[in-house]
């Protein structure tokens, strides 16, 4: 009966354990190892014979020579035999190998295999083998593609376009090809320097060649094979065409229903997918690469952005160059306005103004830019085609109407439009007031009423010559006063009356003085807020507790926030300054004075988004945080303290104090399936930090387990002299891998990404040396930043509509900050106006929104 109690589960566990623990005597292992070693060295040299049967494709001399034993034994099929004999007539090394095999000598022509098995050759032998191998390869490269021909059928390839000299190369003769010529299977095509060509296979596959490329196309059993000996191609294969292979000396790429760029050069092969997927077989390694991803056959081939890899394409330049030029031209036209160094609008702002914005009247420029756009569209068929595709007739009409309205009304208005917002009696934001100078009040009123009637908004808006004639009581209505040489718009009649009544209370305030200073320097776009008064206003404050919390955050020390934007040529410079009423404190003091950020060395030149900053003292930062929590939520702080005491850990002393002052974050690499983010921290004491982490995780797990919440696990793995830590939750597949190296901690969602980050630093190939990044740096007296945010969307395949190719005209943007004693200065570089709303964007030239969308939003809102 006892036997019945044996539980299969227990037995399985114990038996498996027994199997695991069963020891083999070392002498048994050693004896077996010695026998196998002996047998390996004899069997490997006989290997060509063994391998002969397994040759399925003939791709080079090695394959041909592998067939020798079967050939001698009469075991090669007829078609293949022809191929074999033909090759023997042309290839000296293979003929020698055949002769050697016939006479029974060792197969010297298979250096790769012989050298593996032979006892260590004489000193010069490797070099000789290298020369032999080189010769074999050199002889093999040219003739082999030709032999693929006989297997092929009647695959016809048409030269669809040829820019510059394109040749069909056959032995010593060359024939120049023109558009419309056909290329037979196996014939070699070569593009000369500065030339390019587009081929169309009869199964719909499109092959674009760059200059100095050479290929032959053959039909193989399962699809077409494009044999690319050197150069660059972009292959677009519709799904209906089946599998298309691109064979390079280093790799075999399978393209099916996708667009793939393949480059073959001296160092190896690089494959980039533009659309769809491609499979790459390189030296026995298979990889599937997704859209926007890249593969290189050799580590010495650095990754470049897919956009750059296809930038030579005629399609890429067809639109993007033209668009980039147009964009620049339009922006330059529209924003060529003078800087304004004086204004009377500022003087008219109501007393108690806490927010003031001044924008230039770009209506004339915008109208001119619109004319320019129309002219360019009529000149360039490619652009016109895109414009028609991108904008429906309705949209185009809407845009025309908007431009027309702006042009007409804008013509009456002076060079500047100002918006002022003051605090109302309760301390909340009051009604806005829009001010502008007017050239012809009567003409403007007439034009405005006509337009309002056209859009059916006349009932809500009253247009008057003076405030006195305005009807009161229309509480939600907007009143437009256009009289004399002044235009004033506001929902509040009081404010309007103040303007025309000549109340200039604002001129005596410090905020006015600060703004007047800005005007002295010249203003294009200006936006300013009097934070001191906003924070101090009764509408902002709640109670003593909150005031204390705000004080700890340093918010009460804020004074002004000023944003300026001006155009220098085609580049816009935005700068913002946050000033304090003394030394920075609270949150505002966290940012350290500008200093180099070494953490950026772990970020690749193709990063999409990068944020980096230097902080003063991480421990002080924690103090401020805790202080803030303490005043806002004393129980929360007590709970945190209890956790720290019970588990004998200190967030401040163990974690924050071990950190240095640098921090960097980046999205660097493919976004799907898991975004390739990485974080880099400067670490002063890695051991202490890791110990603290482990204690925190332990403690948190204890509490989580007690509360029935999911727990975290830290595991450790050693590899290549480096220790990797993995932080994971068993319930989800989310994990974070991090390691410590050279005083930095690098964290990413996978070990591959961590390793890659380290390799970037070791190779010196980092964002800091990337031309796109350095071009975005501002020209000023600073050598470093306190903080920076860099964004380059081009690697993310920001597409030009209709081309399927990245828009290379999109420049990266860089925003940065310098922390000084009593202020923080922000800046941003990049093409276009603030928020990317350049005139070109407004007119619908690629970018974000577009005037029509803004109009739509405005009408809806």
């Amino acid at each position: 009966m006892k036997r019945n109690n044996i539980d299969p589960n227990t037995l399985l566990d114990r038996a498996v354990e027994a199997i695991r623990d069963e020891a083999v005597d070392q002498s048994v292992v050693d004896a077996a190892a010695a026998r196998v070693r002996e047998s390996l060295s004899t069997r490997a040299s006989a290997e060509p014979v063994a391998a002969a049967a397994s040759v399925t494709h003939i791709r080079g001399c090695d394959d041909v020579q592998a067939l020798i034993p079967s050939y001698l034994a009469g075991g090669v099929a007829d078609a293949r035999k022809l191929l074999f004999e033909d090759h023997m007539r042309e290839c000296v090394p293979c003929r020698k190998a055949l002769k050697a095999a016939r006479t029974g000598e060792s197969p010297a022509a298979r250096p790769a295999h012989v050298s593996k098995a032979a006892p260590r050759p004489r000193r010069t032998a490797p070099v000789r083998w290298a020369i032999a191998a080189g010769l074999v390869a050199a002889f093999a490269v040219l003739p082999v593609a030709k032999y693929l021909g006989p297997f092929g059928g009647s695959l016809a390839t048409v030269v669809e376009a040829a820019d510059g000299p394109v040749y069909e190369v056959e032995g010593v003769s060359t024939r120049q090809l023109a558009a419309g010529d056909t290329l037979a299977a196996g014939e070699r095509l070569r593009t000369a320097r500065d030339a390019g060509a587009v081929l169309r296979l009869d199964n719909g596959v499109r092959v674009e060649l760059r200059e100095r490329s050479e290929l032959a196309i053959a039909e193989s059993g399962s699809g077409a094979t494009i044999r690319l000996d050197r150069g660059n191609v972009i292959v677009t294969a519709p799904a209906s065409a089946g599998r298309i292979y691109v064979a390079t000396p280093a790799s075999l790429v399978t393209v099916e229903g996708s667009t793939v760029a393949v480059t073959s050069g001296t160092k190896g092969t690089r494959v980039s997918t533009v659309e769809g997927r491609a499979q790459v077989d390189s030296a026995g390694v298979y990889r599937l690469i997704g859209p926007g991803e890249q593969f290189a056959s050799s580590p010495s081939i650095e990754p470049v952005s897919v956009a750059r890899d296809v930038s030579w394409s005629r399609d890429a330049s067809k639109y993007s160059e033209a668009l980039a030029a147009l964009r620049t031209e339009i922006d330059a036209t529209a924003l060529a306005g003078e800087l304004r160094t004086s204004t009377r609008l500022l003087d008219l702002a109501p007393e108690g103004t806490v927010f003031y914005a001044a924008i230039p009247n770009i209506s004339a420029g915008l109208a001119e830019a619109s004319d320019l756009l129309q002219r360019r569209l009529s000149e360039n068929p490619a652009l016109a085609e895109w414009w028609q595709q991108e904008h429906s007739a309705n949209h185009r009409a809407g845009l025309d109407l908007a431009v027309q309205t702006i042009r007409e009304l804008g013509a009456f208005i002076g060079p500047e439009i100002a918006v002022a917002v003051s605090l109302d009696r309760s301390g909340g934001p009051g009604a806005p007031l829009v001010l502008a100078e007017l050239k012809d009040a009567a003409g403007f009123r007439a034009a405005l009423e006509r337009h309002l009637g056209a859009v059916g908004e006349a009932s809500k808006i009253q247009v008057v010559e003076s405030v006195a004639s305005a009807k009161t009581g229309a509480a939600d209505g907007l009143t437009i006063v256009a009289g004399g040489d002044l235009l004033a718009i506001s929902p509040s009649l009081d404010l309007l009356a103040g303007v025309t009544g000549g109340a200039h209370g604002f001129t005596s305030s410090p905020f006015y003085t600060r703004l007047a200073d800005e005007y002295r320097d010249g203003v294009a776009f200006l936006l300013a807020a009097d934070l001191e008064r906003i924070v101090a206003a009764p509408g902002f404050k709640k109670d003593a507790k909150e005031t204390d919390a705000l004080d700890r955050l340093g918010v009460t020390g804020l004074r002004y926030f000023v944003v300026k934007q001006r155009m220098d040529g085609t580049t816009s410079n935005a700068s913002a300054t946050l000033t304090f009423d003394g030394q920075r404190r609270g949150i505002a003091s966290w940012l350290a004075a500008p200093g180099p950020v070494g953490a950026l060395q772990y970020i690749s030149p193709d990063a999409n988004v990068v944020a980096a900053f230097v902080v003063e003292q991480p421990a002080a930062l924690v103090d401020d945080m805790l202080g803030f929590i303490g005043s806002d939520d004393p129980e929360g702080l007590a709970e945190l303290r209890r956790f720290e005491t019970e588990n004998n850990v200190s967030f401040r002393d163990d974690v924050a104090a071990s950190l240095g002052g640098e921090f960097a974050f980046a999205v660097d690499g493919p976004v799907l399936p898991t975004p390739s983010w990485k974080m880099v921290f400067e670490v002063n004491d890695a051991t202490r930090l890791q110990t603290a982490f482990e204690r925190f995780v332990d403690a948190a797990n204890r509490e989580a387990a007690a509360a029935g919440r999911p727990t975290l696990a830290i595991s450790r793995a050693e590899d290549g002299g480096r220790t990797y830590f993995t932080l994971a939750t068993p319930e989800t597949s989310m994990e974070v891998v991090y390691t410590f190296t050279d005083g930095y901690m690098i964290a990413a969602p996978s070990r591959v990404l961590v390793d890659r980050a380290i390799r970037y630093r070791e190779s010196g190939y980092t964002i800091l040396t990337a031309p796109r990044f350095t071009a975005a740096l501002p020209a000023d007296g600073q050598t470093s930043f306190s903080a920076l945010v860099y964004q380059d969307l081009t690697p993310l395949l920001e597409k030009v509509p209709g081309t399927g190719l990245p828009d290379t005209s999109m420049l990266p943007t860089l925003a940065y900050a310098y922390a000084r004693e009593d202020r923080i200065e922000f800046g941003a570089n990049g093409k276009g106006a603030p928020l990317g709303l350049s005139p070109a964007t407004l007119l619908g030239v690629p970018g974000s929104g577009g005037l029509k969308d803004l109009m739509k939003q405005a009408v809806k809102g």
């Binding site: 037995l11 190892a33 069997r43 020369i131």
Partner: protein, 193 residues
């Protein structure tokens, strides 16, 4: 003859771009020295036989020697070797099950061990090995890595490039099947008492 050396170096450099250089014998040698022990012992655990383990060792290194352009075992040669050993050994156990069709009944009859030492009996071990070999290849590899080789689920997921969820599920099922075979055996074992 210094210039000759230079020339040779140049040719060497050019040739290395044209075709993968013959793999220096040392690399395979080094791999062998470093990993033969691991491969042999792993294969032994799975096949339960020193002769079979020797075959596995030979098969794996012969395959490596035949690879063109050198084996690409990165990122971790150790785990590559380990997996290769597991799969080659499983092939042998599968082959053995086909060749010598020892039925479960035969195994049952020969068990005379007491309950206490049942888990140490070679018959039970063989039974487990065959039960594992009957699993589909992926599940078998997972089972071996987890229970014979003592890897954690997470490590296995990483080694095999699978999600941890999938590993968990497959392992659970694999273990269930092996346990079922073992349970059937125990039932018969009891009847023969």
């Amino acid at each position: 003859m210094c210039s000759d050396d230079e020339k040779e170096n140049e040719v060497h450099a050019v040739a290395s771009h044209l075709t993968p250089l013959p793999k220096p014998p040392d690399q395979l040698d080094m791999l062998y020295r470093e990993h033969h022990d691991l491969v042999f012992r792993t294969a032994y655990r799975i096949t339960g036989s020193a002769a079979d383990a020797e075959d596995v060792l030979q098969t794996i290194f012969l395959r490596l020697a035949r690879r063109d352009g050198g084996p690409n075992l990165l990122p971790s040669p150790g785990s590559y070797m380990h997996r290769a050993a597991v799969n080659a050994a499983l092939d042998i156990v599968r082959e053995r099950a086909r060749r010598r069709s020892v039925t479960l009944e035969e195994v049952t009859v020969s068990v005379g061990a007491s309950q206490a030492s049942l888990h140490e009996s070679q018959e039970v071990h063989e039974l487990i090995r065959r039960a594992v070999a009957r699993l589909n290849p992926k599940a078998a590899e997972l089972f071996i890595l987890r229970y014979f080789e003592g890897y954690g689920n997470e490590e296995i997921a990483r080694m095999l490039g699978m999600s941890k969820m999938v590993v968990n599920v497959l392992l659970h099922r694999a273990r269930g099947r092996v346990r079922k075979d073992l349970g059937e055996f125990l039932g018969r074992h009891h009847e023969t008492e």
